[in-house]
Amino acid sequence: MYAFLIIVSFVSVFPLYWMVSAATNKSADVISGRLIPGTNFFENWKNLIAAQNIGRAFGNSFKYALILTFVSLVVSSLAGYGFEIFHDKAKDTLMSIILLAMMVPFVATMIPLFQMISKAGWLNTTIGFILPTISTPFLIMMFRQSARSFPHDIMEAARIDGLSEIRIFFQMFVPTMRSTYAAAMTITFMNAWNSYLWPKVIMTDATSQTMPMVVANLTEGYVTDYGMLMLAVLICTLPTAVVFFCLQKAFAEGITGAVK
């Protein structure tokens, strides 16, 4: 079993190792497939800060991703909970309709969406970035599915004790579903961090550029400095990796006796 896990982990991590080692090599070495770390790390770092405003882009991405994750989790979990706990035929039907919303390729809805955001004057703003993805059918469905295992008898008991529905949600559901929240947080943060097509349409200012946009800038020249590019990509990967590492215990070793 360990052997299996080690092989899978190795396959998963190898390309990342390649990325890290490429970030320390010269461009010419990277494309000729050099696999061992080199000595060009500081050179790449210097070039990267000279070429792009990494700090600003990192800050922007972090701000957008954090705000979106928080708002989105609140709105979507409320909705998912509402759909499952108080389910009836109308709500089940509505859920199926809502699911349709994620099935159209974004390319198709992008232009009408741009019109709306642009008319509202929200180009180059955080609200413009987050608004279309605050409430996603996917997250709602995820919370709806997990609410299915939320024990009804405990809820009934709480109701008899006179707890309001809102307090049941915040004081009982939220702590119990820690693992679901942690997983949803990871996924939402990651999607927000990596989102590219939407910001590239609505962010027209240099000051509101995000990390993926900066990485794209680096690949567009006549000459690509692969060492520098890989360093930028590494910086772009780290936050998600860190967020995951911090949350993984929470979602994989979830319930700690809150409800038994």
């Binding site: 079993m1 299996f4 896990l5 982990s9 998963s12 991590v13 390309p15 390649w18 497939g33 696999l35 979507s76 409320l78 909705a79 998912g80 509402g82 759909f83 108080f86 009836d88 509505l94 199926s96 699911l99 349709l100 919303a101 099935m103 159209v104 390729p105 390319v107 198709a108 809805t109 232009i111 009408p112 969406l113 709306m116 409430s135 059918p137 709602i140 469905m141 995820m142 599915q145 997990s146 299915r148 529905e165 693992s179 997983a183 996924i187 990651m190 993926p212 690949t219 590019l229 990509v233 990967t237 990796a241 995951f244 590492f245 993984q248 215990k249 994989a252 070793e253 979830g254 319930i255």
Partner: protein
């Protein structure tokens, strides 16, 4: 008296439900259905750039005569049929291994297996292209081991290009799906497994008898997501093979994107093709819901 009180209670609860789901549902209607509705109107128009005219259903007829689009439908379904089942089964197995209480270095393994999907797309594309290059690592190993006489151009031959795309997808998304299973498994009391073990059930038996049935809601969720993700597959086709050779690995979304932003744009036609994807995903999701979304 008591009967009418009960009625108001259930009415109140019903209202509560709507109150909970209203912000989310409203946002989806405004941010998704409104643009979708306008895209639907657009799909009945045709023309170059901003100059669009009503054209009835001719876009919907055109797409089935468009050989590249038909090819892209076939490609996409091929990926769907091969990749999604393998990935979900594999993710489920990994999740149940990693859920084992006695396993050491769990956190480390989990993070390593998840990391691929955290990797930025640019890096992942460059890495995969480099691995499968003519003088890349894979060719080097195959030639050294004597499996190949000379380097093979993986990305420029139809079958191998498609296989590389499937491998890349598996690499990138298995860990992602594993996360949902791991989180779903937390809702199963661990004592159930211990009891099964005492009763003499093997690991394989408890996997099929306990894990799979109890994870059904989560499996449904990931199945719908992966189906949707694969039918909208874009990144891999663009970045790994650029749809080639001769459009044999191009996906539907890739073609729609080209139609909108690379070719002389006909946004009406793009919208029509997008709605075909919607219909296809909706049918598949409906079937999956029918099978998987029963409350026992």
């Amino acid at each position: 008296m008591s009967k009418s009180k009960k009625m108001t209670l259930s009415k109140k609860q019903n209202l509560m439900g709507w109150f909970f789901l209203l912000p989310g549902a409203l946002l989806i209607f405004i941010m998704s259905f409104l643009p979708m509705f306008r895209a639907l109107l657009l799909s009945f128009k045709s023309g170059v750039g901003a100059n669009m005219k009503w054209c009835g259903i001719s876009n919907y007829i055109r797409m089935f005569q468009d050989t590249v689009f038909v090819q892209s439908i076939k490609n996409t379904f091929l990926y769907l049929l091969i990749q999604v089942p393998i990935m979900l089964v594999f993710a489920l197995i990994l999740a149940s291994i990693l859920n084992n209480k006695d396993l050491k270095f769990k956190g480390l393994f989990r993070t390593m297996i998840f990391l691929p999907c955290a990797t930025s797309l640019v890096a992942y594309a460059i890495i995969f292209r480099s691995l499968f290059a003519n003088n890349g690592l894979i060719n080097l190993i195959f030639v050294k081991l004597g499996i190949l006489d000379q380097p093979y151009a993986f990305l420029t031959n139809t079958t191998s290009a498609r296989i590389v795309i499937v491998i890349a997808l598996l690499w990138r998304w298995t860990g992602y799906n594993m996360v949902f299973y791991l989180s779903g498994l937390q809702n199963i009391e661990y004592s159930v497994y211990e009891a099964a073990k005492i009763d003499g059930a093997s690991a394989v038996q408890s996997f099929f008898k306990i894990t799979v049935p109890l994870l059904k809601p989560t499996i449904l969720l990931t199945a719908i997501m992966s189906t949707n993700g694969t039918l909208q597959l874009f990144d891999e086709s663009v970045n790994l093979t650029n749809g080639g050779p001769a459009n044999t690995s191009i996906t539907m979304s890739h073609y729609i994107y080209d139609m909108s932003f690379k070719y002389v744009p006909n946004f009406g036609y793009s919208a029509a093709m997008s709605f075909l994807i919607l219909i296809l995903v909706a049918i598949l999701a409906f079937l999956q819901m029918k099978v998987g979304d029963k409350r026992d």
